[in-house]
């Protein structure tokens, strides 16, 4: 009988050995795949047992803090946003039911101490070995709470965005999107947070992902292309009959659509100051759409602006086709209407962040400013555009942006929405114009009869004042 006993014994041992093999499989080969799965409750708990790093504004204002809760013998950390809606779209949120958005998402590796930085790795490993709570890195932002709050206050009840930045370093001071939402409501009152935006809809960061027709504010880009082409100077003269002829049709100047302004003989400079469409229409026809698009790219159009927020919360500016796709024409001369493009119409869609970058680039003597140290030469003629943009504020369409004692350079934009007398109002500016410290872009949606100079310029003025003070 002993022979059979040995055989059954071997079989029994094989069964237990199979268990060891099985355990090895799940704990080594299968382990990484399982750890990443969305329904893994342990992963969620692990995420919330890390003491997430705090987020601060430039003046030390706490934007994202932690609340401690004890669940099942474990200490969990949940997010709390002391400033409520003011930084909602930039900072975003980190919750269990809705995952993450904003910097909470893109900086998750830093905030949870899981980035590959050697120092962080060392400390996180030490924390784990000691069994103490893993602490994330704190993140300090360039945003200025005073100006940010001011921008949102002035946008209250409207849909729009304000972006302000330091034109020489690229540090963003204001990134305000209206309507904002209260990130503290996301976890348990998501529908309420969603509804708080009214008809505009909250939860869209308009400053970086809102796409608008730029209107005349785009003329700054056209002027750059014009001066750099060598075919125009600020003093080049044009005759303005009140319209521009394209493909045999009259394209009237903006301003008052009822009675188009007619300026007669003007210079390019005057054309920018008074935002005369026919001047730019003729420039566009002369230099061609290809060159304008070329300069758009130098200003950063056609790619995602380099900001630290998640990629899907930013949009590229440029021409868009009917299907909402970015359209980079292979044969611009036949595919794009150069006249309309030149004064900011055609199929142009731009983000407030992109337009702030345009203003900042001019302010920075043509050196495009980007976070992450990448600087590229865009235009050596920035000084001339700078002075023309100053004239816009001293005696043109943007007089509402004047700050006493500080020279301001700006450009208005009023884009038609296709609905009667309703416009998208733009203003891009920088100040002080001689030594720029701040560049700003303001967009306000759906303004009945409202032009950029009337609606957006005062907001830009207040924000710049607050930042310069």
């Amino acid at each position: 009988m002993n022979k059979q006993i040995s055989q059954v014994g071997v079989a029994a041992l094989v069964l237990i050995a199979a268990l060891i093999v099985g355990t090895t499989y799940w704990q080594t080969w299968a382990n990484a795949g399982l750890a990443d799965r969305q329904d893994n409750a342990i992963r969620l708990v692990a995420q919330f047992s890390i003491k997430r790093g705090k987020i601060y504004a430039s003046d030390g204002t706490l934007l994202a803090a932690n609340v401690t809760k004890h669940v099942g013998g474990q200490t969990l950390y949940f997010r709390r946003y002391p400033t409520g809606p003011i930084f909602s779209d930039v900072v975003g949120y980190s919750t269990q039911s809705r995952n993450q958005t904003g910097l909470e998402r893109s900086y998750n590796d830093y905030l949870t101490g899981s980035n590959a930085n050697l120092d962080t790795v060392f400390h996180a490993t030490l924390d784990r070995l000691k069994g103490s709570t893993v602490q994330g890195n704190n993140v300090y932002l360039t945003l200025r709470p005073g100006a940010q709050a001011l921008a949102l206050r002035e946008l209250r009840g409207k849909c729009g965005a304000v972006v302000a930045m330091n034109p020489s370093t690229g540090a963003v001071y204001v990134l305000a999107s209206s309507p904002p939402y209260n990130p503290n409501l996301i976890e348990k009152h998501y529908q309420q947070a969603l509804r708080s935006g009214g008809k505009c809809g909250a939860l869209l960061n308009r400053a970086t992902a809102g796409k608008y027709q730029p209107g005349s504010s785009f003329k700054v880009v056209t002027a750059t292309a014009a001066l750099n082409s060598g075919r125009f100077t600020p003093d080049s003269t044009f005759y303005d009959p009140g319209y521009c002829e394209e493909y045999g049709k009259q394209v009237r100047n903006a301003g008052n659509p009822e009675a188009p302004e007619t300026f007669g003989n003007v210079t390019l400079s005057t054309g920018l100051v008074h935002s005369i469409n026919s001047v730019f229409c003729n420039i566009g026809k002369a230099i061609g759409a290809g060159l304008i698009i070329d300069y758009m790219k130098r200003y950063g159009f056609y790619k995602l602006p380099p900001l630290e927020t998640p990629e899907n919360e930013r949009a590229a500016s440029g021409l868009y086709d009917r299907h909402g796709r970015l359209f980079d024409p292979r044969h611009p001369e036949t595919q794009v209407d150069p006249g309309r493009l030149a004064f900011g119409q055609e199929r142009l869609q731009v983000t407030p962040l992109q337009m702030a970058m345009v203003a900042a680039t001019v302010a920075n003597n043509g050196l495009e400013v980007q976070p992450y140290l990448v600087q590229r030469v865009v235009s050596p003629h920035a000084r001339e555009i700078n002075s023309m943009m100053q004239l816009v504020v001293t005696g043109g369409t943007g007089t509402a942006a004047q700050i006493s004692g500080v020279p301001v350079a700006g450009k208005t934009g009023t884009a038609e929405t296709g609905v009667g007398d309703i416009y998208t109002a733009w203003f891009i500016a920088f100040a002080p114009a001689d030594h720029p410290k701040v560049a700003v872009a303001v967009v306000v949606e759906n303004q009945p009869g409202g032009f950029g100079g009337k609606v957006s310029a005062p907001i830009a003025k207040d924000v710049m004042e607050a930042l310069l003070r």
Partner: protein, 423 residues
């Protein structure tokens, strides 16, 4: 022997320290005392018995009670009570049968019939109770009891006695000699089908085949048995929705589209959020352990909302929690401890002098190994999952008590074999 008990004691002590404070020492001391008593009883009654088995049982129970304490302190207290009850019964069996356990062989039919009776108890109205789709529980006077655990040992005694007596005849393979065997066995299987205890069915059938093979030496019986089992399983699978569910969860625990959720009728959900939630979270738990584990008492056993991460973690799924907390290194060591237990048991069967003792020791050992395989293999998705306890570790009074009786049986056989060898 002392050294291993201390290891068991230390494991409780250390883990307790990380969870709570002074009460832990008292707990550990009592636990240590209980096993010291068990040790002395064994020394007095079966002085020649295998010295490894009792410490291993102590170690496994210590780990079990530690993890149960971690999951639910109240249950650990009750488990402690059951361990004491198990040790008392252990001492009782050793004391009663210390001179010659072989006299129970003459009561083999009584054992067999009692086993069937015990198995049938849960089917009876009033006392029977259905828990999680299986009718396994007897409810009497506020106490719940799973009679199947004790029936398992009684069936082994019956099979050992019967097969010892009839092995030569059976080996010839004449059908009429199988009569009584098939009757008892068939009844057991019928009862199991009625109670829908699939793990139990597999366990009894495995024990039966192993013992039959050892007694007759005919591999063909095993082959025929396995074929019959496969055919039977297919039949059961065809007609029982409960079984179909288990097999589906085993093969496809995750779905990307919502499926009909039988546990919440009329409800559509991803299977991992519905019927396979338990096995899926258990896999996450095991995987989370990695090579070295999170450390005893430091694993994640609750969800963000504070509910139990794996439903029934302390009974059927205690292995998943252990695997998470001690990692691959610890789990392999843990399973090796089971292997050592099995090795010692096989050794006892080899050394035993008479057929009844050999069959008894082998049956008990194989039952122990197969039970561990059925539950852990189910958790590791080697086989479909069936609810059954992990010997000495899982929470459950009937299981703990039955395992101590199993241990007493092995020690008795071992004592006699070693004594004979010395003579």
């Amino acid at each position: 022997m002392g050294a291993l008990t201390v290891v068991g004691f230390a494991s409780v002590y250390i883990a307790r320290q990380s969870v709570v404070s002074t009460a832990s020492l008292t707990y550990a001391a009592i636990f240590f005392g209980v096993f010291l008593v068990a040790h002395f009883v064994a020394r007095a009654t079966v002085p020649f018995a295998d010295p490894y088995l009792l410490p291993i049982a102590g170690l496994l129970s210590a780990l079990g009670v530690t993890e149960i304490y971690r999951l639910s302190p109240d249950s650990a207290f009750r488990q402690g009570f059951w361990i004491i009850a198990g040790v008392v019964l252990f001492a009782g069996v050793l004391f009663l049968l210390r001179y010659d356990y072989r006299r129970i062989e003459s009561y083999k039919y009584l054992f067999g019939l009692t086993a069937i009776g015990l198995l049938a108890l849960p089917i009876l109205p009033v006392v029977g109770q259905t828990v999680n789709g299986s009718r396994l529980w007897v409810h009497a006077g506020g106490l719940q009891f799973q009679p199947g655990e004790l029936a398992k040992i009684m069936l082994i005694v019956f099979l050992a006695g019967y097969l010892r007596e009839k092995r030569e005849v059976l080996a010839q393979g004449r059908l009429k000699d199988f009569g009584p065997l098939l009757v008892i066995w068939g009844m057991a299987i019928l009862v199991l089908l009625e109670t829908r205890d699939l793990g139990g069915g597999l366990l009894y059938f495995g024990i039966f085949l192993a013992m039959l093979f050892v007694a007759t030496g005919r591999l063909a019986f095993v082959a025929i048995g396995l074929v019959l089992f496969l055919v039977g399983s297919l039949g059961v699978w065809k007609v029982t929705p409960h079984v179909q569910e288990r097999v589906t969860d085993w093969r496809h625990p995750w779905t990307s589209h919502p499926v009909y959720c039988p546990s919440a009728p009329g409800h559509l959900a991803l299977r991992q959020n519905c019927q396979s939630y338990q096995i899926v979270q258990s896999m996450y738990s095991i995987a989370h352990g990695g090579y070295t584990g999170t450390g005893l008492g430091r694993g994640t056993v609750t969800t963000l909302g504070g509910s139990e991460l794996i439903p029934y973690a302390k009974t059927d799924f205690i292995f998943s929690v252990i695997a998470q907390e001690v990692g691959l290194v610890g789990t392999a060591a843990f399973l090796l401890v089971y292997m050592v237990f099995v090795l010692r048991g096989i050794r006892i069967a080899l050394l035993a002098q008479d057929g009844f003792s050999k069959l008894l020791a082998l049956g008990l050992t194989f039952a122990f190994a197969l039970q561990a395989f059925i539950i852990v293999g189910g958790i590791l998705r080697i086989i479909p999952l069936t609810g059954i306890t992990l010997p000495f570790v899982s929470y459950g009074g009937s299981s703990v008590v039955a395992n101590f009786v199993l241990l007493a049986g092995l020690l008795l056989v071992s004592n006699r074999a070693n004594r004979e060898a010395l003579r």
